[in-house]
């Protein structure tokens, strides 16, 4: 059976939102983070918020814009059914982070957005009481939503590879690439990034760009990142590949990059996005971002990803057996690996294994189809292994300028 014949039956059950996007989870989100938001989350089931030191304070205008884009992007994410915006954030005075503007931007999704005015409420404790009431009503209304069938093309996903080892480039990333190709064919959106980790492979990606302008943007992103690396006076190999990569057999940044780009599949690259930037169309996108999980995954979620994936090598990280839950606030995270030692060590924590391809037990297509099935099941409501744990790393917005 060819991939295109299987296509039409590739469906998942999701929540239709007013802007025609489809949620795979059904949260209420309070933004920005802080005391009020944390207390509302403690009291009300189904509410999420953001924990981050990057509030925008002391940042340049373009970095503040990125913080704002991250907040409103998470609010607009299809997995969010309703939003509360409060005005007690420390950066509320900056124009980019004006709470009313944030609420307006979030409301573009057409979903309910409530404004919690702390001054009008008479103080923060009073605002918490009011916010709890708002949140209870929002989650109750959200619970009335019913899942309906949608095709693979309604998914937006983002991936990073990490603790990469030689299994990553041979069988781990290619499985993701297969998934990406099928999502793009179905009319969905697939995002990959990690600009440092395209250095040495950027010419291959540039050849796959939809237009010369997109090709130039990819090359420019790699150039800018390499210039920053050169300015440090250090061999990048002492920073990235990280020690875990080297311990597992990756020798240079170029080798890491050439393996890493396999997760991008074979589709045409439609654009080069900034951190937390929403893609203008459908298809495959490169994101000029930074590899750290606490940064990259919330960035994908803010760009609209309902689901994120960490393609783990893990050959060089023997101390890690519990794999962290998603730092993407509203988008779950699947952990994938093709390394047999990682699989054995991580056990239940690992969502998917494609080392079978190296072992000759499965073809790349079979492993890829198995990943698609997992993605559809997860999109339909089955939890990721990480969703069983009550923990999340703080979110780190990827900013570019010094702070003052």
């Amino acid at each position: 059976m060819s991939a295109s014949q299987v296509g039409p039956s590739r469906e998942f059950l999701g929540f239709l939102r007013p802007d025609e996007t489809v949620g795979i989870r059904n949260y209420v989100l309070v933004i920005p983070g802080g005391f009020i938001s944390a207390k509302i989350c403690e009291c009300v089931n189904g509410v999420e918020t953001i924990v981050t030191p990057n509030t925008g304070a002391g940042m340049t205008s373009r970095d503040r814009a990125t913080v704002a884009r991250t907040l409103t992007g998470l609010a607009r994410n299809p997995n969010v059914a309703g939003v509360i915006v409060h005005n007690a954030g420390p950066s509320a005075g900056y124009p980019e982070l004006n709470p009313l503007s944030l609420a307006e931007e979030a409301a573009k999704s057409g979903k309910p957005v409530e404004f919690l005015d702390v001054v009008k409420a008479g103080g923060q404790l009073e605002a918490i009481a009011q916010g709890v009431k708002m949140a209870r009503r929002l989650v109750y209304e959200a619970s009335k939503a019913r899942r309906e069938p949608f095709g693979l093309g309604k998914l937006t996903v983002g991936v990073k590879c990490g603790a990469s080892d030689p299994t990553s480039g041979i069988a781990g990333n290619p499985a993701v690439g297969y998934l990406f190709d099928r999502i793009v064919e179905a009319g969905g959106v697939a995002m990959f990034g990690e600009t440092t980790e395209i250095i040495g492979a950027e010419h291959i990606l540039a050849r796959r760009a939809a237009t010369p302008a997109v090709a130039e943007a990819i090359l420019e992103a790699a150039r800018r990142t390499e210039e920053r690396a050169l300015a440090t006076g250090e061999d990048i190999r002492t920073v990235n590949p990280v020690p875990a990569n080297i311990a597992a057999g990756i020798s240079t940044l170029e080798e890491k990059s050439l393996g890493a780009i396999h997760k991008a599949g074979h589709a045409v690259i439609q654009g080069c996005l900034q951190y937390a930037e929403r893609p203008a169309g459908k298809g495959l996108y490169f994101v000029d971002n930074w590899m750290h999980p606490s940064s990259i995954f919330p960035g994908y979620a803010a760009a609209g990803a309902q689901l994120t994936m960490f393609q783990l090598g893990g050959g060089g990280t023997p101390a890690r057996d519990i794999l962290d839950p998603s730092p993407a606030v509203v988008a779950p995270l699947l952990w994938l690996s093709a390394n047999p030692a990682t699989r054995e060590r991580c056990g239940f924590s690992l969502d998917y294994y494609s080392g079978t391809v190296i072992e000759g037990k499965e073809t790349p297509e079979e492993a890829g189809e198995r990943l698609i099935s997992l993605v559809l099941e997860t999109a339909s409501g089955t939890w990721t292994r990480g969703e069983t744990l009550r923990y999340s790393d703080p979110l780190e917005v990827y900013t570019l300028d010094p702070v003052f």
């Binding site: 030689p166 480039g169 250095i199 050959g315």
Partner: protein, 101 residues
């Protein structure tokens, strides 16, 4: 013993071993239906690279059909190829700093 390795592109001069290799093992490196046999000169851990050809210092190391770096010293066919005998060409702030001093 006979051990396995994967060649990822016809232009490659290294292969990734997919068994734990010991010195003296014959490594059968496969690319599609074609194979190359090479005797391991030393132990090579799972996933690490074995040289398929003799490389001179400065010669490009090729994997995925692309340059992944250059030999920092001569590498013999059958040797382990890693950070001790390969250096990267990109992001070399150290070389730039040295050139500026």
């Amino acid at each position: 013993m006979e051990r396995r390795a994967l060649i990822l592109d016809p232009a490659d001069n290294v292969a990734s071993v997919i068994d734990r290799v010991e010195a003296g093992d014959t490594v059968i490196a496969r690319l599609g239906n074609e194979t190359k046999a090479v005797v391991a000169l030393e132990d090579i851990p799972f996933g690490f690279k074995i040289a398929l050809a003799n490389l001179e210092a400065g010669e490009a190391v090729i994997k995925y059909g692309e340059v992944i770096g250059k030999a920092s010293r001569p590498i013999a066919r059958g040797a382990l190829v890693h950070v001790h005998n390969v250096e990267g060409n990109r992001g070399r702030g150290d070389l730039q700093k040295r050139a500026e001093e």
